[in-house]
């Protein structure tokens, strides 16, 4: 009997129709969470298995992708908890709401004369950008990935991460600033842009 034989107790048709189209998105998310293709694949399998088993808890018509992301992240966090201690714990203070930095981005201030369009970003290889994202603390990384890569609204991210919208905005702000600083420094090091005020 072949694996795709329709008689082999196929998973519920509505689960297949609603959840499976998000496989790529869940994989991309898992990849950013784990930082490794092998671990991401395992996490995706676990996520879909868990989702399938709790399919009766899913409210039809709601955001299926966010629901899968939530399961995926919870599994990841539980796994991480079981294994090593938190690699880079963000202090309670840093996770608090609040501006988290000057209004005028110091990195942009040093670029606004030399590269006001941000063309230096084109010189940075994709792997370096992904490395920088993966190095963010999980709380920031998840917010940045869900907002900037998946385009989810603040409200959905807040529900997923079980925090208020203000906290999501604050994590996005801090995560992006951190990333911008890392990428800026990399570009200066590589000679793509001259060192400016943010380096002083």
């Amino acid at each position: 009997m072949s694996a795709d034989s329709p008689t082999a107790s196929p998973p519920a048709a509505d689960f297949q129709a609603e959840a499976l189209p998000h496989l790529d998105a869940v994989y991309r998310f898992a990849l950013r969470l784990t930082g490794s293709p092998e671990r991401a694949e395992d996490l995706v399998q676990e996520t879909f298995l868990r989702a399938f088993r709790s399919w009766d808890q899913y409210t039809p018509g709601t955001q299926c992708k966010s629901w899968l992301f939530t399961i995926c992240r919870n599994l990841f966090l539980r796994e991480r908890e079981r294994g090593r201690r938190h690699d880079e714990l963000v202090s309670e203070n840093a996770l608090a709401e609040g501006p988290g930095g000057p209004l005028a981005n110091p990195v942009w201030l040093s670029l606004k004369e030399t590269d006001p369009e941000g063309e230096f970003f084109d010189s940075i290889v994709d792997a370096e950008v992904l490395k920088a994202i993966d190095a963010l603390p999980e709380e920031y990384r998840t917010a940045v990935v869900l907002s900037d890569l998946e385009g989810l609204p603040y409200q959905e991210i807040a529900e997923m991460m079980d925090v208020p919208v203000g906290t999501v905005k604050s994590r996005l702000f801090r995560g992006r600033r951190k990333l911008q600083k890392v990428l800026y420094r990399y570009a200066v090091e590589m000679g793509y842009i001259p060192a400016g005020a943010a380096e002083e």
Binding site: A3, D4, A8, S9, P10, P11, A12, Q16, L20, L23, Y27, R28, R32, P37, E41, V44, Q45, F48, L49, F52, R53, P102, L103, A104, N105, P106, V107, W108, L109, L111, K112, D115, P116, E117, G118, E119, F121, D122, I124, D126, A127, V129, L130, I133, V144, S147, D148, L149, G151, P153, Y154, K169, L172, F173, L179, Q180, L183, A197, A198, E200
Partner: protein
């Protein structure tokens, strides 16, 4: 020049190219534009306030790079992630796991 000095100059002094707030009474201040730039780019603002933010950045040469640089940054993130593709056999692996689970049921 220290960073603090740069920031102080940015907010206190009003160089000639800096669109003064009274130039667009319907619009918003530089400070508000910078504060709202993230909400704007994230599509979280309603039409009217989004249009106000957009108009400010279009008119204010001094603020404009803060929008463009933020946009370029986001584009760079999206471009980097687009290159990542799902392993071709992952879908089958997931389907197999689900079939087993359905059979156990």
């Amino acid at each position: 020049m220290s960073l603090l000095h740069v920031l102080r100059r940015f907010f206190r002094d009003s160089p000639p190219e800096h669109a003064p707030d009274h130039a667009h009474p319907e619009g918003i201040s530089c400070e508000d534009a910078l504060r709202l730039v993230h909400d704007f780019l994230d599509g979280e603002l309603e039409d009217t306030s989004g249009a106000n933010v957009k108009a400010h950045f279009e008119q204010c040469q001094r603020c404009y790079p803060f929008l463009r640089l933020e946009e370029s940054f986001r584009l760079a993130l999206r471009k980097a992630a687009r290159g990542e593709t799902t392993p071709p056999d992952l879908r089958d692996r997931v389907l197999n796991v689900l079939e087993e689970a359905a059979a156990d049921h």
